[in-house]
Symmetry: D2
């Protein structure tokens, strides 16, 4: 007996499914995220709690939500010094639309800029996996290894601050919120060694890398969390550029460019 | 008398300043945003309050901060149906890095997708400027004008929901938080007319456009605020794609593509 | 009688097709673009001919292909002065990957930067549609209208050159290649008026807008064609930045930023 | 004695130069690229020759320019199957502007998509550096090493074609143009081994990786050269989407999404 058309259609569609998700289920007039109807989430949870639900799949404890709130606020802005802010503003000046300016800003989150938070989280999360009894020993081992490669240790030192004021404030809040775990302890242990040896201090990335790791976030999402915190500032800088500056302004003059290429030659002699 | 070198240098630098901002002042070991030292903001204000400080320049009232928190949560996610989520996931599957996937997601916030919030805010903000005594009259005039152009009215109707469950929840919260102003009243008035005429209901963009306008946000930042709310979900989808799906998967098969171009021909006959 | 499974499957797939194209047909071991097998195109046509096939659907005349070649070469580079080059290099310095740097460069092609070619093409293509007998009259009408709005006329004048050397060279080549049509004539007519009135000369965008319009390209693709010509330079600048400069360099110093925001205040008094 | 103001100003500016380039020198009414005045390049060199000038700093031999022309044409298009084409079209459907769609397309050039050309070039360029007498021995060593890691060998095999028709055509043209060097020989040697062992054939990336390496291009620019060749098609697809399809179309239906997340729960019990 032939199958009914409807049944066949369903059968083929199901065998043909290309898209699968566990984040949000969309049905007509019904949207549930991680199992919660969205009208239940709206007005009942905070934005940092929403970040937990989306990135970790479940609601956090209240102290964890408060801690993430502080982390997000700490990423807020660093004026026009970051490459991301500069590119977003240059694009705004060139007359690009807001989404292009924002995307352009985020594309400057390269390994030397926002990459530090991710690399520090990876360093701490992999460091904790080492078979050492004491966190101090892991810290020493990490420092030794990086010194051998002559690379900079991510999360420590800052090109504008020798004592980043955000780092101690975040550590203080981690203590207050009872959110100091092994990753933050490891970051603090590295800080002690580096400060004694070289006078280098933990920066915002070092502090947040420890805290976010202790909150259970995968290092692969570190740059993303930084972006959540920084996005409002990028929007604000684009708006400032568009409303307060002349369009298509010259960010430098022609005589501020140094040319060190070929002398003049001709294509046809 | 000749000026000292230091004074001259400062003079030239100042006359040469290309970058100016009123958002954040960066000095060695000191970062102040809108006048507040950042270590003072971290731990003392919420993320939505930070959004106010960055986009509007000052701290909001407590009820306003709660309202913005609900708005940000309401933008959280709509599964894999939005173009932005699809493009972010396709890029993740292609092996692009997280910042590229996120930027790529946000680049799909075009005028047909996230543009609705911006256009609705513009509609309401310009609508309020009309010289009418009653909000109902402005609403009627707006509806008449759009019907004449045969365009869809942004902020009302949804391609998946005929009654978007987020909209009434947001209006309810706006009442609870004492945040209903003239823009939201105008959105509600338009909703009444459209529902009576065509059975079309306010969607999330209509509700948030009214609320954000009443909170004092410029419509030019509407898409940006949507992005702040949606960004955590985009990160989550990229992570889901990278951790649960095969890399470089085929989103459709070769025989699911319809070719309607030229018949075969040869370059050299 | 029941349909066979294979037939049913095909039927459902076909009714379910979401993707349609007339550009390229892909079959196993066979790829045909605009009807031509690609192995037939490779080695037999030039890159500019390929651009014609892709954007206009058919092969051009030889003189048209030569003309487009000159146009593409003319877009090659303008050093580090364009916003697109600056953003690509800033991203490269921040450690972003090549595709991110290139995408970031192209996102700076806003309405004030690369938008000029598109707007000039639109101006010329719409101008030709006006019911005037003589091209000189259309030119005069366009100039009058723009003067009334006090906007700058796109395609004429340049922020670094008062006589852009590329424009007369392109017009000369258009004559040599027998590619001067009504759009280029209109651009030349506008040039005469503007030069007499204000000493302003046609720039590269004005010349190319006329030529590309005469070659039959839609103004909506103007910025795209500019990008094809400019892309090699963006790659070259990214490479130069990555190989010759220090990573994460400071494009300006902290004391080159002017802060004009709020005086310092405290969150808790 | 005090220095004159002009001299001082020049002194400070020069000590303050942040931007340096060897690609193009921009002076008022004079633009020289790699030493050639641009009006001399326009009309006298081909687009592929321009690519050489920009990426390698000098003009190529005529056979090299012809070879690069074939390589660029070979990258032209692969219908709607590549992630980059899909994302560009989805963004176009969402109503994003052309630069955003193009940037969004290029952001899908991840390591699994366009990354193959770069990785193959790296493989061949580093392979040639090995201390082996015969190219066949290097090829065997490379194949052995990759088989041990169970990874796929980039540049060989294709998810839609078991015999990519572009690869033999490119090799044929490399012979005709006298452009077969050690890198292409190595690619051919790997092809022989893989075909004998597994029936896997060289694809377009394998052929072009060899040829581009022999033309002297750094593997770090491989993805960039692919982008130059592919960009016209991306523009064409965006145009096709915008002119032939309904805006904001659904690329799949709500019942084509499989949800495998949490069962429904409530926030407040």
């Amino acid at each position: 007996m032939a199958l009914g058309r409807e049944k066949l259609e369903r059968m083929f569609k199901i065998s043909n499914l290309k898209w699968k998700t566990s984040i949000t289920k969309v049905e007509p007039n019904r949207i549930t995220t991680r199992g919660y109807p969205q009208e239940d989430l709206i007005g009942n949870i905070s934005f940092p709690e929403m970040v937990f639900i989306l990135l970790k799949g479940e609601l956090p404890e209240k102290n964890e939500a408060r801690m993430l709130e502080s982390v997000l606020v700490s990423f807020c802005d660093h004026g026009v010094t970051p490459p991301s802010t500069q590119t977003a503003r240059i694009m705004a000046s060139a007359g690009s639309q807001l989404p292009a300016c924002i995307a352009g800003g985020l594309l400057a989150f390269g390994k030397n800029h926002a990459g530090a938070i991710e690399r520090t989280m990876k360093l701490l999360q992999e460091g904790i996996g080492r078979s050492k009894d004491r966190i101090e020993d892991i810290a020493q081992e990490i420092v030794n290894e990086i010194f051998e490669t002559e690379e900079k240790i991510p999360g420590f030192g800052h090109r504008y601050h020798n004592a980043d004021p955000r780092a101690p404030r975040l550590i203080e809040l981690a203590k207050e919120n009872n959110c100091i775990g092994i990753h933050t302890q490891l970051a603090i242990a590295i800080d002690k060694i580096l400060f004694n040896l070289k006078g280098i201090r933990m920066n915002i990335d070092g502090a947040n890398a420890g805290i976010l790791s202790d909150l259970g976030f995968d290092w692969r999402n570190g740059t993303g969390i930084f972006m959540i915190g920084r996005l409002p500032a990028i929007i604000s800088h684009v708006y400032e550029e568009k409303t307060r500056e002349e369009p298509f302004r010259k960010f430098f003059d022609i005589d501020e460019i140094y040319y060190d290429g070929n002398d003049e030659k001709r294509i046809l002699d």
